[in-house]
């Protein structure tokens, strides 16, 4: 396989990760849109009836939970490089974040090169690592757990009371959802900052990334 492809391409995203990613993206977008109707039914009637929004929200939530398991399974059991790929190093935190931010918000406008080059074991720059790490290890698990609790209030009532009550749970779920919405805006936009606007999207679809400096 590798021999037949031009050397300036690199296989960054294996198939299971891509399947997870697009299932997850579809799921999260559905959750956000249905969520708007669920919290603000007087202002947003997007799916006809309230229960249609609820049903769709439940299905999307389960999709996201299952695809999250797929993601964990792949990175922990198959690829076993989750620490390398996702966990920010001390250098990432100390200097990487600043360098990368300086590039995005200054050098980028001057037309300078991205200081980070993606390789399969080091595919994220410091900013990506930190945000993806937070998203995948904090936001997703929290939103999945709070969502599952909310889908089973009657049988799990005592637990819900023990963690601070259903209002706390609902409001945490809502704020997490808003964070996802915000993440999504930034994430989709940042994904257009490749050497062409669609380079990263193509990569996320096919797995192959054209190396920037060869282009």
């Amino acid at each position: 396989m590798t021999e037949q492809t031009p050397p300036e391409q690199v296989y960054l995203t294996p198939t299971p990760v891509r399947i997870w990613h697009w299932l997850n993206a579809l799921g999260i977008v559905t959750l956000c849109v249905t969520g708007i109707q669920i919290r603000f039914p007087e202002y947003a009637n997007i799916f006809g009836t309230y229960k249609a929004a609820i049903r769709l929200h439940d299905i999307a939530g389960i999709t996201v939970s299952i695809s999250f398991l797929l993601w964990i399974f792949y990175y922990l059991v198959v690829a076993r490089n989750i620490a390398k790929v996702y966990v920010p190093t001390l250098a990432d935190i100390k200097s990487g974040l600043f360098q990368q931010a300086f590039f995005y918000f200054f050098n980028y406008f001057l037309g300078k090169d991205n200081p980070h080059t993606a390789t399969p074991d080091n595919k994220f720059n410091a900013i990506q690592k930190v945000t993806y790490f937070m998203t995948m290890f904090l936001l997703i698990p929290l939103v999945v757990v709070s969502g599952l609790l909310l889908m089973n209030i009657a049988p799990l009532r005592a637990w819900i009371i023990a963690i601070g009550g259903i209002k706390f749970l609902v409001d945490a779920h809502y704020l997490l959802a808003c964070s996802f919405f915000a993440f999504l805006c930034v994430h989709v936009y940042m994904a257009t900052l490749g050497h062409t606007p669609f380079a990263h999207f193509r990569q996320m679809w096919t797995g192959w990334e054209k190396m920037e400096h060869t282009g």
């Binding site: 007087e42 995005y104 918000f105 037309g111 009657a154 009371i161 601070g164 808003c178 805006c185």
Partner: protein
């Protein structure tokens, strides 16, 4: 003048039997209950026993046994005469007329739902009590199953709501909070309604049970009092669960199309700020209600932490914080995108 006096006499003569019945009632009740309120009568037949604690808290207690059972002779029960039983419609004509019109009257009579010796007004029952009445014929798990076909979270709804909130025609509903306690054996995920005994030790001596939360004794529950209750370690095992009760009782049991639409309850209309009520369990299994400060059910942390109805009791401040989070996310593409557009020539030069 004479006309008025005529009416007065008419009125008095109508009242006399009632008054004497009430006076005689009390006396006769104690004689009747000296047999029918003793557990040994159970040996002659369980239907003969009347629980005095339950009976004495009913309104029927005030009208007395013989108002409904005429023909009890001094030689009763040895005479072998079977005392009569009053028909409910003799006194509850309006309810009877309403109920007769509903198709449900073909399936159940008054005494299928009400024990004449343990009747309670709506305000004195919990939603759970009502659903137990219905569950005699409408098996609970079958109801959950049939409702789950169209109702998301059917088990939760059937657990949390009295059937009559959806199946009778009261136009208004009242948010009612019940005190619940942890309990390992309950269907409600380890939570059961708390009774008087569970709270007895918290009642200030000589005071009514309402003082457990209404600490200043003004007969209403304020947000501050709720906060004190919810944050007190004393009451860690007690929480407030909410439900929607119909405001008035109607006996037109029916399927109402608008209850099929979730936003009948799950949308914050002008009612979102409504006052709610807190039901305190009394001795004998009844409840007394107290008004709760307006808007308390919307408070994020300290009003009713264990009561939330999606789309209805959302907190406005929190909604705005969430929208600000989304807006700050949107600013990145907007600001960066603008600068990107303005500096696009620099990247092309490369």
């Amino acid at each position: 003048m004479s006309r008025t006096r005529g009416y007065l006499i008419l009125l008095l003569s109508a009242l006399i039997p009632v008054m004497t019945a009430a006076a005689v009632g009390a006396a006769e009740r104690s004689t009747c209950l000296s047999c029918h309120g003793e557990r040994k009568i159970l040996n002659k037949g369980t239907h003969l026993y009347i629980d005095p604690a339950k009976y004495e808290s009913t309104t029927h207690e005030r009208i007395g046994c013989v108002a409904c059972h005429t023909g009890v002779t001094p030689r009763h029960p040895a005479d072998g005469v079977r005392p009569s039983r009053a028909k409910c419609e003799e006194c509850h004509a309006a309810v009877y007329a309403e109920y007769e019109k509903s198709s449900h009257s073909a399936y159940a009579g008054c005494t299928d739902c009400h024990k004449p010796h343990a009747v309670k007004p709506l305000l004195a029952v919990s939603g759970r009590d009502i659903n137990i009445q219905c569950a005699k014929c409408h098996d609970n798990s079958a109801t959950v199953k049939s409702h789950a076909k169209w109702l998301p979270q059917a088990a939760l709804h059937i657990d949390a709501l009295p059937c009559i909130t959806c199946h009778t025609g009261s136009k208004e509903t009242v948010i009612t909070l019940y005190m619940a306690k942890r309990a390992g054996d309950s269907r409600l995920g380890g939570v059961a309604l708390a009774g008087y005994e569970d709270l007895r030790s918290f009642i200030p001596p000589g005071k009514k049970i309402g003082r457990v939360i209404d600490s200043n004794g003004d007969g209403a529950v304020s947000l501050d009092e709720l906060k004190a209750f919810n944050t007190s370690s004393q009451f860690k095992h007690i929480s407030l669960l909410g439900t929607m009760m119909p405001e008035v009782v109607t006996h037109s049991f029916q399927i109402l199309a608008n209850r099929w639409d979730c936003t009948f309850c799950h949308a914050s209309g002008p009612n979102a700020q409504q006052t709610s009520q807190l039901a305190f369990p009394e001795q004998g299994g009844t409840y007394s209600r107290m008004i709760v400060e307006k808007g308390a059910i919307l408070d994020i942390l300290y009003g009713t932490p264990d009561f939330y109805m999606t789309g209805f009791t959302r907190n406005k401040t929190l909604s705005i914080i969430g929208i600000l989070i989304v807006a700050s996310g949107l600013m990145v593409p907007i600001l960066h995108g603008t600068l990107r557009f303005l500096t696009r020539s620099r990247r092309k030069e490369r």
